[in-house]
C-alpha cells in the first residue's frame, strides 16, 4: 500500500500517464483483493467430529471437515482455527469437501465448546488476513482425565489395584457372549479376525464373565478434592470395563447398578463428566 502511495505521488508529480496506469492497476488490485478475500470466506461450512471418548487434558485427534458450498470459487489457503490449534486447507475446489486431522486438548470436563472457532485466510495477496467467526457451537462431552488412585478398601477388596495380568483371566474358560464392533482400547487378543474379515470392520469378541463379581464404586469413599476423585473414578471405570468386571457407581443418592457393557461404561463416564454441572448429571 505504501508502494501504491509512493507511485501515486510520483504519478501526480511527473504527470506521466504510464505511472498513472501502474497506480490504477495497483489500486484496482487492492480493491479486487478485498473483494476476493471476502468471497473466499463465504459459504464455507466447517464441521468437527470427535472420537467416541474424549478425556480432559489429553490430546485428542479430531477430524475437521471443510465443505465449499460455492459454485465457482475454490477455497484458497484456508486456515481453520479451533481454540488453540488450527488446520490449513491449502486448496478446495468449489462444491468439494476435504477432511484434515487436528489435535485438540480440553482443559476441563463436561460439555466443552471448541472456541473460538474461525476461518482465516491471507488470500489473495497477504495484504491483510481476513477472519470469519463461525456461527453455532461445536461441543464435545469431555470425560474427566483418568488418573490412578485408591478407591477405598471395602469396595476394592483384594482387587482394588487390578494389574494388567488380570486381563488374562477373562476369556479363559468362559463362553463367547457376542461379537461387537471394535472400540478403541479393546485388547488385540479379543479381536475376532474371522468376523472382521467377513464384515470388513474390526470385530471384538465379548465373553460372559461369570467369574467376575460385580463391583460398585462409591464416590464418597474416594478421598481428595472433587476433580481428583472424578479422575480416579474414571480411571477405575475404564480399567474395570477393560477387565470385564460389571461395574456400578454410587454418587450421593444416585446409584448405577453394576453391569458390564459399553453402554454402561459411557453412562458412567458421562455421569462423571457432568458431575456437579447442575441438571445434566441426572440424564442418561
Amino acid at each position: 500500500m505504501a508502494l501504491t502511495l509512493f507511485l501515486g505521488i510520483a504519478a501526480i508529480n511527473t504527470g506521466n500517464n504510464l505511472v498513472y496506469m501502474i497506480v490504477a492497476a495497483l489500486l484496482s488490485f487492492l480493491l479486487i483483493s478485498g473483494f476476493y478475500g471476502k468471497r473466499n470466506l463465504s459459504r464455507l461450512i466447517v464441521d468437527v467430529t470427535f472420537p467416541e471418548e474424549v478425556f480432559a487434558r489429553t490430546e485428542t485427534l479430531v477430524t475437521v471437515v471443510l465443505v465449499n458450498r460455492r459454485r465457482y470459487l475454490p477455497a484458497f489457503l484456508m486456515r481453520v482455527s479451533l481454540g488453540e490449534t488450527s488446520v490449513l486447507f491449502p486448496f478446495l475446489e468449489a462444491g468439494h469437501r476435504a477432511t484434515r486431522p487436528a489435535r485438540l486438548t480440553f482443559a476441563g470436563r463436561g460439555h466443552q465448546a471448541v472456541s473460538p472457532r474461525y476461518l482465516a485466510s491471507s488470500f489473495p495477496f497477504r495484504f491483510f488476513i481476513r477472519y470469519r467467526r463461525l456461527e453455532g457451537d461445536v461441543t464435545a462431552l469431555v470425560y474427566p482425565e483418568p488418573k490412578p488412585g485408591s478407591v477405598g478398601r471395602e469396595e476394592g477388596r483384594s482387587r482394588s489395584r487390578p494389574s494388567e495380568s488380570g486381563l488374562d483371566l477373562s476369556g479363559a474358560g468362559t463362553d463367547l457372549l457376542s461379537i461387537r464392533p471394535y472400540l478403541v482400547g479393546d485388547p488385540l487378543k479379543y479381536i475376532h479376525w474371522k468376523a472382521s474379515a467377513r464384515t470388513d470392520r474390526l470385530q471384538t469378541k465379548e465373553f460372559t464373565l461369570p467369574a467376575m463379581p460385580p463391583l460398585v464404586l462409591d464416590m464418597a469413599r474416594v478421598p481428595g478434592p472433587l476433580e481428583g476423585r472424578l479422575s480416579i473414578l474414571t480411571f477405575w471405570v475404564l480399567a474395570l470395563f477393560r477387565k470385564g468386571v460389571p461395574v456400578g457407581l454410587k454418587m450421593g443418592e444416585i446409584l448405577y447398578p453394576p453391569v458390564h457393557s459399553p453402554h454402561q461404561k459411557h453412562l458412567l463416564l458421562r455421569a462423571l463428566a457432568l458431575c456437579g454441572h447442575e441438571g445434566e448429571a441426572h440424564e442418561g
Binding site: N13, H96, F123
Partner: protein, 641 residues
C-alpha cells in the same frame, strides 16, 4: 511439488519482465552486470546452493550506491536509479529468500517497470504492464501460501490450478484499472516534469541545409509527427518548420528572426484547425500547416516569418493545436525584403545563367521562368549518388543535373536573388499519409522537404516549389506497399495510444467528464465524442456492463444440478398426479404415495439423493445420470378423476 519451486519460477519471470522493459534504455554495463549476477543466482536457486558471504553482497551494494551518486545529474536521475535497481534486484536474488525477500523483489521489479515508463512512452509498455500484472498476481498468491507454510508441498496440478484461478483477479482488475486511470486526479503542472525524458532524436529534418555533404539519403520512414484534422487538398500539404535566409555557397543558415507581426493573405481560404502530435526530434521547431495563424502551446513563440519554436529542444512527445489558412502567399505588416538578396561571391556562372533566363522580365514572370527551367527543364530528382563537391550548386546546375529537393530549392532561391527578387529557403515537410480510420495525417521523416519563398510586391512572400513532380507524394496510407500498410495499421494503434494515454491530462479528463455528464442529461442520448473519447467511453461502458452482469448473475441464483434433479423428480410425480407440499419432507411425501405408483424406484431415488444432498456434497456426474434414469423409471397410471 514444493510451493517455493513454483514461486521461484514466477519470481524470475516477473523480474525478467521488469528487466526487459528497461533493458533498452540503461547502460550496456549494467545490463551485462545484471545478467552476470542473475545467472549464478539461478544456478544457486536450482542446482547447487552455495553461500555468498554477506560482506561481498554488502560491499557490492555500497559500491553501486557510490558509483550512482557520482553519476547523478539533475537532468539524468532516472537512468542511474534504474541501474541501481537492477543491481539491487540481482543481489537480492543471491540471498536465501524469506517471504519478505520475495516481496521486496516484487516491489523492486515493479519499480523497474515504473522506471521504464519514465524512459520511454512506447506502446510496448502496455504489453509489459499486462504481463507483469498477471505474473504478479499469481506470484503474490503463491507467496501467501509460501508465507503460511514455507515447506508446503502440493501436487503440481493443484499448484497450477491455484496459479490459474488467481489469474481471475487481474482479469477483473483490468477494467477497474481502466476506470481508475480515467478518474485518478491529474494536475496541470507536474513538479518533476524533468524526470520525463524520452528517446533518441530522429533525423530527417534538420535546422540547417548543407549541400554536397552526403552521397545518399536514406528514406527514413519513421514518423515525424501526426496531425489530427480533416483531409486536405494535396497541394496545400506544406508543413512549415524553418526559414533559412543566409547562404554561404554550400550551407543555408538562419540569421534573422523577425519579430512577430500581423500579416495579410491575399486569397484567403477557409481556416483549418488541427492538432499536432510531434515525436521527439532534438530541435526546437514546431511544424504547422503552411501559413499558420495561431499555435496553442505553452512557451511557444512565433516570429514574423511564421516560424514557431520552443525555447528548448523537444526531447519528448508533445501535442499542440494550431490554426492555419492554407495559401500560397502572405504579406507581413512589416518586412524588409532587401535583406533577402545577399549572395556569396563566386557564383558568376549562376548569375549568367539567371540573366539569360530572365532578361527583360518583370519579377513575377522572371520567377515563373526560373521555376519552369528547374521544374520542367533538364533536371532529375534523385536521392542517391549525389555529387560530393565543394561547389555543389554549380555542379548541380551545369554538370550532373540531378539532386534532391535541397538542390532544386537552393538553386531556385539563389537564382531568384541573382535576378533581384528577394528569396529565402523554407524547410519542413511535404505531404503525408492520410489515415481515414484515425482521421489524421502521418507525416514521415522521408516527407522532409525544402522549398522557396520569393518576395513580390503586391503578393508578399509567394511559395515556389521547383522540385519536379518526380517526388511522388502518396497521400493515403493505403497507397503504399503491403509492409507499409501493415505498419500504418500499427501506426493507428500508436496514434490512439498517444492521444488517449500519453496525452491524457487534466483538460481531457475534465472534457470527458463534462461530456459524460451532458450526455447523461441529454434525453436524446446524442453522443458527440471524438474517436479517442469513443474508445475510452466504450471501454468504460463495457466494463460497467460486465460488472452489472456479474452482479445480476449473482442475484439470479442459478439452480444447482441437485436442485434441477429434485425439480425433475417433482415434475415426474406431478404428472402422475402427486404433488409435494412445500413443507413436506421428501420421505413423508414418498410414504403417502398410493400403491399404484412404483414406490420402490421413488424410495431408491430419495435415499440416494439424500445421501448426497444432506451432506452438502456435489453429486458426481455419473451419479446424476443414474438418478435421472431412476426418475424416468418411475411410471404409473394417472389416477382417474
Amino acid at each position: 511439488m514444493k510451493v517455493e519451486g513454483f514461486l521461484k519460477i514466477l519470481t524470475y519471470t516477473l523480474t525478467l519482465t521488469g528487466f526487459v522493459s528497461v533493458a533498452a534504455h540503461v547502460g550496456a554495463t549494467f545490463v551485462a552486470g545484471f545478467v552476470a549476477l542473475m545467472l549464478p543466482a539461478a544456478w544457486r536457486d536450482w542446482r547447487r546452493p552455495f553461500v555468498v558471504p554477506r560482506w561481498i553482497l554488502n560491499a557490492l551494494a555500497v559500491a553501486m550506491v557510490i558509483v550512482t551518486f557520482l553519476r547523478l545529474r539533475i537532468d539524468n536521475i532516472v537512468v542511474p536509479a534504474v541501474d541501481i535497481l537492477l543491481v539491487m534486484i540481482a543481489l537480492k536474488f543471491m540471498e536465501d529468500k524469506q517471504p519478505r525477500d520475495y516481496f521486496q523483489i516484487f516491489v523492486l521489479s515493479l519499480l523497474l517497470l515504473a522506471g521504464s515508463s519514465l524512459l520511454s512512452l512506447d506502446m510496448i509498455f502496455l504489453a509489459y504492464l499486462i504481463a507483469f500484472l498477471f505474473l504478479l498476481s499469481s506470484a503474490t498468491v503463491l507467496l501467501a501460501y509460501f508465507a503460511e507454510d514455507p515447506a508446503l508441498v502440493m501436487p503440481r496440478r493443484t499448484l497450477i490450478a491455484i496459479a490459474l484461478k488467481s489469474l481471475l483477479i487481474p482479469l477483473v482488475a483490468l477494467p477497474v484499472t481502466v476506470i481508475l486511470f480515467v478518474l485518478l486526479p491529474r494536475t496541470s503542472h507536474p513538479f518533476f516534469d524533468f524526470l520525463n525524458r524520452t528517446g533518441p532524436a530522429t533525423s530527417g529534418f534538420s535546422d540547417h541545409v548543407r549541400l554536397g555533404g552526403v552521397a545518399d539519403i536514406q528514406e527514413d520512414t519513421t514518423i515525424a509527427f501526426r496531425v489530427a484534422m480533416g483531409r486536405l487538398d494535396e497541394d496545400a500539404l506544406y508543413w512549415r518548420g524553418i526559414v533559412f535566409d543566409q547562404f554561404d555557397g554550400r550551407t543555408w543558415k538562419t540569421l534573422r528572426t523577425p519579430p512577430a507581426t500581423t500579416f495579410h493573405i491575399s486569397a484567403p481560404t477557409r481556416r483549418v484547425r488541427y492538432t499536432v502530435y510531434l515525436e521527439p526530434s532534438d530541435n526546437r521547431y514546431l511544424f504547422t500547416l503552411d501559413k499558420p495563424v495561431f499555435v496553442s502551446l505553452r512557451n511557444a513563440r512565433g516570429g514574423g516569418n511564421l516560424v514557431y519554436t520552443l525555447p528548448d529542444p523537444i526531447l519528448r512527445k508533445i501535442r499542440y493545436e494550431g490554426v492555419s489558412v492554407p495559401a500560397d502567399d502572405f504579406i507581413p505588416a512589416h518586412e524588409n525584403p532587401r535583406a533577402y538578396l545577399d549572395l556569396p561571391p563566386g557564383l558568376e556562372d549562376i548569375r549568367a545563367l539567371t540573366a539569360s533566363l530572365t532578361r527583360g522580365l518583370a519579377p513575377l514572370p522572371a520567377v515563373r521562368a526560373l521555376h519552369g527551367y528547374l521544374h520542367h527543364g533538364p533536371f532529375r530528382y534523385a536521392l542517391s549518388d549525389l555529387p560530393r563537391s565543394s561547389r555543389p550548386l554549380q555542379d548541380f546546375l551545369f554538370r550532373h543535373r540531378y539532386g534532391n529537393c535541397e538542390y532544386f530549392a537552393s538553386a531556385m532561391t539563389v537564382m531568384a536573388r541573382s535576378a533581384g527578387v528577394p528569396a529565402r529557403l523554407v524547410g519542413g515537410y511535404r505531404g503525408g499519409y492520410y489515415h481515414d480510420l484515425g482521421g489524421y495525417y502521418a507525416v514521415l521523416q522521408k516527407n522532409a522537404h525544402v522549398w522557396t519563398e520569393v518576395w513580390l510586391e503586391g503578393h508578399g512572400w509567394l511559395r515556389v516549389d521547383p522540385t519536379p513532380a518526380a517526388l511522388l507524394i502518396a497521400t493515403s496510407v493505403w497507397q503504399g506497399g503491403f509492409g507499409f500498410r501493415v505498419r500504418m495499421i500499427f501506426d493507428l494503434l500508436e496514434y490512439y495510444w498517444n492521444i488517449n494515454v500519453i496525452a491524457y491530462d487534466l483538460q481531457k479528463q475534465f472534457r470527458l467528464l463534462t461530456t459524460l455528464e451532458r450526455t447523461l442529461r441529454n434525453p436524446d442520448w446524442h453522443l458527440s465524442l471524438d474517436p479517442g473519447q469513443r474508445l475510452w467511453g466504450g471501454g468504460a461502458l463495457l466494463s460497467l456492463m460486465a460488472l452489472a452482469g456479474v452482479l445480476l448473475l449473482r442475484r439470479l441464483k442459478w439452480p444447482t444440478p441437485e436442485e434441477r434433479l429434485l425439480a425433475r423428480f417433482h415434475r415426474r410425480l406431478a404428472r402422475l398426479g402427486h404433488t409435494r407440499h412445500p413443507s413436506e419432507g421428501l420421505e413423508a411425501f414418498i410414504a403417502r404415495l398410493p400403491a399404484d405408483v412404483p414406490r420402490r424406484q421413488a424410495e431408491i431415488f430419495v435415499a440416494e439423493f439424500e445421501r448426497f444432498y444432506y451432506k452438502d456434497i456435489a453429486i458426481p456426474k455419473h451419479e446424476r445420470a443414474r438418478l435421472a434414469a431412476l426418475i424416468r423409471s418411475i411410471s404409473g397410471r394417472r389416477p382417474e378423476g
